[in-house]
Assembly symmetry: C2
Homo-oligomer: 157 residues x 2
DNA sequence: AGCTAAATCGAGAATGATTCCTGATTTAGG
DNA sequence: CCTAAATCAGGAATCATTCTCGATTTAGCT
């Protein structure tokens, strides 16, 4: 049976690439598509729980019985470098991953550690004030609100 | 030589205590003062570089040749629980410590990782909007601006 | 469809940060 | 002083993350 040529790899927006992942502009690194990485990204995009590498590993074991944790970390690094996925350092110290690269903010529960997405606009005056006062040019802003999530707040009272 | 009784330990503001460090209200844990912990706190208060545990260990070795890294971590935990010191999870994954418990915000350099204190007020409307929109009550807000610090920005161009 | 080079994989070892354990020392009270 | 509890130093243990390496897969090219 004749097979249709698979679609070209949709290259990630290079402008989003993290600085520490720069590759030589003359001979850019070739990327092979792999099912593991594709599923990893799908999984990250289909949740808003900001899972850890271990969470993702657990979630994919059923699908890929031979999957190894190293593969999860390796692919997360690729996605982060592409700018497709963001790392969210957590208060506990274990890294969490965010499949939503749109700028947005978080509410972090002090009790259970859950991280919830927020759709709140930060006044742009803030970054201009930053630049005037400190001569610092910020290209991203991240706001974390801390408190008790509804569940933990209910349990307490 | 008769010694003046040493001043009572100035107990940290209990209202600032981190939730995960709660102790039984009936028999509160007794705290002995130790030189190691006092110097650790002084060191944290005298800098704005948000050092790591290893940084602090290095900085104190001269003074306490037998100091162990475990002691640094153990005391940092105490200070964090008291609310005297704050943990600042960094993008690299290693925890950093902040001796300034006053609410303030940070500028993080994408290149060198330095964290700089900012004195910028966040409009209080933001937290009230949060509460109206999401029914979430936040007791702290943390804003991180990301970009290149002056040094790294100069080097690049 | 075959051929090859580069990319990626899985397994497991290595690393690095942080925590835990233990017996010795220090502190706070009485 | 005396004692109990807190803290220490040193070292082992744990946990997350990275690295190594030989085997496998992918992409590009006849
Ligand atoms: Mn998010
Ligand atoms: Mn600070
Ligand atoms: Zn919660
Ligand atoms: Zn810098």
């Amino acid at each position: 049976m004749r097979r249709v040529s698979s679609p070209r790899i949709p290259h990630a927006d290079p402008s989003a690439q993290r600085a520490e992942c720069a590759e030589p502009a003359d001979r850019p690194r070739r990327r092979n598509r792999t099912v593991q990485r594709e599923r990893l990204l799908e999984m990250l995009r289909s949740t808003d729980t900001h899972p850890t590498a271990a969470d993702l590993f657990e979630g994919l074991r059923g699908e890929f019985p031979r999957l190894s944790l190293g593969t999860v970390y390796r692919n997360l690094e690729v996605l982060v470098c592409e700018g497709t996925v963001e790392q969210v350092p957590s208060q506990s110290g274990v890294m969490r991953y965010d499949g939503n690269p749109q700028p947005h903010h978080h509410f972090v529960c002090d009790a259970c550690g859950d991280i919830r997405d927020l759709d709140i606009q930060l006044p742009s005056a803030l970054t201009t004030r930053l630049q005037r006062r400190y001569k610092l040019r910020a290209d991203r802003v991240r706001v974390d609100f801390f408190g008790l999530c509804e569940t933990c707040s209910d349990r307490d009272s």
